[in-house]
Symmetry: C2
Amino acid sequence: MKLSDLKPRMLMGPGPSDVHPRVLAAMSQPTIGHLDPQFLECLNEIRNMLKAVFQTNNELTLAVSGTGSAGMETCVVNLIEPGDKILVCVNGVFGQRMTDVAARAGAEVITIERPWGAVFAADDVEAAIREKGPFKVVGIVHAETSTGAAQPIPSISEVAHEAGALLLVDTVTSLGGMEVDADGWQIDACYSGTQKCLSCPPGLSPVTFSAAAVAAMEARKTKVQSWYLDMSMVRAYWGSERLYHHTAPINMNYALHEALRIVLEEGLKARWERHALHHRSLKAGLEAMGIRYLADPDHQLPMLNAVAAPEGVHEGEVRTRLLDEYDIEIGAGLGAFKGKAWRIGLMGESATERHVTAVLSALGSVLSEKGIVKEKDAGLAAAKAAYGS
Amino acid sequence: MKLSDLKPRMLMGPGPSDVHPRVLAAMSQPTIGHLDPQFLECLNEIRNMLKAVFQTNNELTLAVSGTGSAGMETCVVNLIEPGDKILVCVNGVFGQRMTDVAARAGAEVITIERPWGAVFAADDVEAAIREKGPFKVVGIVHAETSTGAAQPIPSISEVAHEAGALLLVDTVTSLGGMEVDADGWQIDACYSGTQKCLSCPPGLSPVTFSAAAVAAMEARKTKVQSWYLDMSMVRAYWGSERLYHHTAPINMNYALHEALRIVLEEGLKARWERHALHHRSLKAGLEAMGIRYLADPDHQLPMLNAVAAPEGVHEGEVRTRLLDEYDIEIGAGLGAFKGKAWRIGLMGESATERHVTAVLSALGSVLSEKGIVKEKDAGLAAAKAAYGS
C-alpha cells in the first residue's frame, strides 16, 4: 500500500483523535540525536508544558517512551515492590487492567467494584481501607474510557491520604479535555496518553510523580522489575545529568511538543469548556434519536460518550458503514459493553461542531434507513438547537 | 523553541541515523485509528517486510511499541520465568544490559565475559554450558554498539542448540546494515531498533520469535511480568484476531513501513555491501590520521566505528566542535570507553561517501588545529583513494 493514498478519517472513537497539521508538520522535522542540545531543550520544554497541563510543580514529570498503557505500567512498577498492597477501584476495563498490571508486579491486589458506568464514593474507598488496609497505593481511573464515567478525585484523595496511601490516578482520557489538578487534588502518580485530548499521535505517555511518590521509589529495597520503565534511570536522562538510558523517540517528542503548545495557546479552561460545549450538543442530538448514555448522568465524561446501541441494530455494521461511507470512526464497546455499545469521542481536535454535526447526520441517515429513527435529521436539529441556546 | 528552526545534523553517532525525507513524509500522513482496516493492512505489510529483512518465516514477527531496549526486554520477559537460567555473553554495554534485564525478570543469570572489543568463540559458550548449564536461554549481542565488534552467530547457535537452549540475539545495530539471517542461523528470539541501519526515527523495536520460542512462551506457568510487552496479547492484535491490547503508535508505524520499503527497494545484499564499502573508506581515512580502532580487526562492524580518541585530545570538546561548527554528530564512548572513545556511525542513510568525506574533513581540520595530525586532509585523501581502488 502507498501511505500517501490513505483515506483520512474523522476520528471520533476512544482515541486516537484528529491531529492538527501543525503537529504532523512538527513530527516530520529532521531527526536529530537524543543527546543533541537542541533536543534536550525540546525535552525541557515538554516537561515544563506537561507540568502546566497536569497543573503540578512535580519535578519528576516527563513523557514515557510508550503508549498510555506503558504509562500505567510505569507508575505501578515504580511504586510497587513484591508484596506491597494496592487497592484498585474497578468499574471498567482500565481499572481491571490496573489490577492485572499490579498483580504482575507482585502486588497483593485488593479490588473494590462498582457497576460499569457508575463511580466510587469516598465512603467505598474508606470502607475498603478500614477492612482490608493499610495499602501502599490506592489506584483509580479518572476517566474510564470503557464506560464514559467521570470519577471525582478529591474526596477519594482525602481518604487515601488519611490512611497513609499514595494515590495513583489514570488520566489517559481526561488530560487536556477536563480538569485534572495533580497538585490541587494531591495525586501522587498520574499517567496519561498523547492520542486523546492532547491530540497528538499515540506513542508517548505523560507521567508525573509527587515528592511522596519519589520518596517511596527512593526507599525501594528491590530494583524496578522493568528496566525500560525504571524511573530511577529515565529521570537521570530527563534531568540535568542527561545520562543515556534508552534512545528517546525523537520525532514523537517533536509531535508532543507542538501538541502541548497548541493546548496551552488555547488555555486549559477554554479547552475544558470547549469539550463540555460540544458534549452537550452531541448528547442532545443522540438523545433526540432515542439513544441512551451508559454512564451515571451526574458523572458523564465530556470527551467519551458511551451509549447503548439501539435495539434491533447490529452495532458493528453501523460502525462499519460510518467508516466506509462517511469516513467517520466511532468506537465499539469494550469488555462488558462489547457488542452492545458505541463510544463516541470528542477529544482535542475532534471536539468541534463540525464533528458533532457530521456524526449525528451520518448516524441519522443510517439509523433512519433501518427504521430505528423516524426523522433522520432529528439528532442534528437537536444538536443545533443546543448550540444556539 | 520553534521546531521548524531546528538545525538539521548529519547523524554519524551510534543512532539515530539520518532519516530519508520519504520516511518523514510518511510519518506525517494523517493519523487514523489502530483498528482501521487501512492501518491493519499497514501492519500486515510491516510484518511481511520485517520477515524479509530478518530473513525469517517466523509468523510471530512484529514491531514492539517502544525503542530497542523495549525489544530486549520483550524478548527476555517473554522467554524467562522466575528461576529460569540464562547464559549471557558480555563484552560491552548491551550484554551488560541484558544481564540486568534478565535478573529483573527473576532469571538465574550466569555471565561469561570477553574484553571490550573482542568476541566470543563457540568454545567459550560450550564450556560455560558444560560447567554451569543447562540453560533455557543463551543471550548474545550480534553488533555490540559500545565497542564496534561483530559477533559471529552461527557457531554459537550450534552449541546453544546442541545443549537444548534457546538463542536470543541482539541485532539492534546490525539489522539492515549487515547480514542477519534469523532462520539460517536458527535464532529463536531477536530484537532490533528502527533508528540504526533501518534509518527510521527511534520509537519501535522489530522482534521475531521462532516456533521453539513460541512453544516456550505457550508452556509458561506464570504470566509475563510486563503487561505492555506480553507477546501473548500483543500477537493477538498483530494476528488475525485483531484484539485490542494497547493503541499502536500509528505514525511511527507509517515511518517504519516506508523505511522498510526503502530497505527492500535497495535490496539486502546491496545495502550490506554499501555499508561495507563506506566503512572501508572511513577506516582508511581514520587510520591515515593515526586513529586506532577498538574492536578486534577480524570482527569489525561496518556501521559502528569505535575508535580511541588520540592522546592529548579532550574527546568531548572535539565532538562538540563537530556538532557546533560542522553540524556533524558523532558518539561518545560508553561504559569502559567513556571519555576515551568516539563512535562513528555509518548507518542506513548515513552510510554514504558524502558522510565519510564530511566527517574526515571536519575531524582533520579540528585535529590539525590541535597539532594532533600534521596534514589536515590526510584522512580525506586516504578515504578517496580507498573509494578509487
